[in-house]
């Protein structure tokens, strides 16, 4: 009997599984067809390359004050001009990009990490654990993000946190406001996933909770997490810029896109030296747009319920 049945199986399904296609490779193929999303991705990659590799080729990386070259308009020597301390704007823009992109990426990773783990635990165990985690999340969600960030930022200035470590604290702050929304999303998905039949099968197999939670349930959320994470990088870059613009985030002399735009606050700079604030503004704008376009494309590909 068994020989017969194995032959039946062999002949009927041979052609189908010949093409190896995981969900991942399928999605990548679809994504590559989405021109808009790909252009967003390419722009972001170029931006990253420019920021992390570009300054290596610049002669002005030391950030020294140069009294002879203050507020110079763009020229061949200084592509985007110089600021009021005679520093090369182009070089500062790219160095600022390092900080802004790193902060955006790192705070996204951290908030996705915290949010998905807490959300998963809340949704899986339910009961009192769920109550505690979700009420904390609710509390954070009831206060708008920016005021919290402002208060935290003001505290940083008050406590005289060293300039070098401010960047890391800004990351922590951003993920602190970022995780509750994500935790809710993950919890909701978890509540429905844990009732699915394959989870009952996992219980019956006698698998450990940790395994069920992180090896069986979380992988089902990866598409969702990837999309949310991508979109939240843009948000994090914006929030960091806003904070730095108000002098509450990363402070000069360390450049970020946000604190570079700060020069637009000065009426003379705003009118006479547009090369000081247009480039960082454009950098923020284009990077966030590119990330969001890419994120939307990803969502189209990964989220089956979100068909065009």
């Amino acid at each position: 009997m068994s020989t017969m049945s194995s032959e039946v199986v062999k002949s009927s399904r041979q052609d189908h599984t010949a093409v190896k296609s995981s969900l991942w490779t399928q999605s990548m193929r679809k994504l590559r067809k989405n021109k808009l999303a790909m252009s967003g991705l390419i722009f972001v990659i170029l931006m990253f390359l420019a920021c992390f590799v570009g300054p290596l080729f610049s002669p002005y990386t030391d950030g020294k004050i140069n009294v002879t070259a203050m507020n110079k308009a763009p020229s061949l020597k200084h592509w985007l001009g110089t600021d009021m301390l005679g520093r090369d704007v182009m070089t500062r823009l790219l160095q600022a990009g390092r900080i802004s992109l790193t902060v955006g990426l790192a705070s996204m990773l951290l908030s996705v990490f915290i949010g998905s783990i807490l959300g998963a635990i809340a949704g899986y165990y339910r009961g009192i654990v769920d109550q505690v985690i979700m009420r904390i999340a609710d509390l954070l969600l009831t206060i708008p993000g920016l005021p919290i960030l402002f208060i935290l930022g003001a505290l940083l200035s008050e406590w005289k946190v060293p300039v070098d470590s401010r960047m890391y604290i800004v990351m922590l702050m951003l993920s602190f406001v970022g995780w509750p929304g994500l935790a809710r999303l993950v919890r909701g998905q978890m509540l429905s996933l844990r009732e699915r039949e394959f989870m009952q099968a996992a219980v019956v197999l006698g698998l450990r909770d940790r395994r069920k939670l992180f090896n069986h349930l979380l992988p089902n959320l990866f598409p969702l997490l990837i999309v949310v994470a991508t979109l939240s990088i843009g948000g994090a870059i914006l929030s960091e810029s806003v904070l730095s613009y108000f002098g509450l985030g990363v402070t000069p002399p360390t450049a970020t896109w946000g604190n570079m735009i700060d020069s637009a606050n000065n009426v003379i700079d705003f009118e006479k030296h547009p090369w000081l604030w247009i480039p960082p503004g454009f950098a923020i704008f284009s990077t966030v747009i590119a990330i969001n376009i890419f994120g939307d494309g990803l969502r189209d590909v990964l989220d089956p319920k979100h068909k065009k």
């Binding site: 049945s5 062999k10 599984t17 099968a201 019956v204 090896n215 990866f222």
Partner: protein, 328 residues
Amino acid sequence: MKNTLEIDRLSTYFYTEEGTVKAVDDVSIRVREGETVCIVGESGCGKSITAMSVMGLIEGTTGKVVNGKIGFDGENLLDLSKNELRTIRGNEIAMIFQEPMSSLNPVLPIGQQITEPLMQHQKLSKKEARLRAIELIKQVGISRAEQIFDSYPHELSGGMLQRIMIAIAISCHPKLLIADEPTTALDVTIQAQILDMLREIKEKSNMSILLITHDLGVVAEMADYVVVMYSGKVVEEGEVVELFNNPKHPYTKGLLKSKPIINQRQEQLYSIPGQVPNPLSLKESCYFHERCAQCMSICETQQPKLKEVGGSTQKVACWLYEEGIADV
């Protein structure tokens, strides 16, 4: 022969807003070593809930096992802690579900899902588990095992997935396999293959099977012993041959009559009149009395007990076979 599973007076109730549903009510079932016991009955009669109670899947729902004992290997499963239960599930008792399509995690490759219990219960290394998994895939009659190992569930057909489910279930050499309508979602030719395979595996490993089904054809093919359930109660049980040749309870008779017979074309298949009573409004009575052609006055007021009849192993819960009442 030793008893592998001994369900003793098990009652599982569900507490809903409208009232208590006695999904399983005072049910005793015994599965001996190497024996196949079938639980038969219509939808909603408590077959699956019985199996879920054994596996401890009731916990976390609105239901509760309120009474009874589930003896397995000399231990009462209901007394075990979560951790102790976990070492038994998947290791000594395995279960196969009705829907192979939804019983496997769609985002994990087949191989990972087979190796996981092996690594957890048998403490195999990843490499050993992989070899064993491939061996198992071959054992359930699928060629190209290495390729299947890396496939995802959506790439396989229902019949293949059910084979994979069986491979996972037998991976740790369980003493008892609970199969909850394992062939209901499959087409007839695949059904036969799956059943043959189950029987073959059972004979080789002396495993006991608790098979839940509504398909009397499956029962005839697989069972050594049959338990007929109705509205959460056992109404009749007995050796398969005896029960099929000489059904006692009107419900069992009805079930057997409503089976189509090959080569006999009928205008209309027989069906038992009426429906399964609403589990919320059950009163002290024979639960089948409303649909029974031989209903007597006592059937409406008192519940019959499961008793042996005619000096055989067959037991029935029906007033018709109660001494001194049948003639009233």
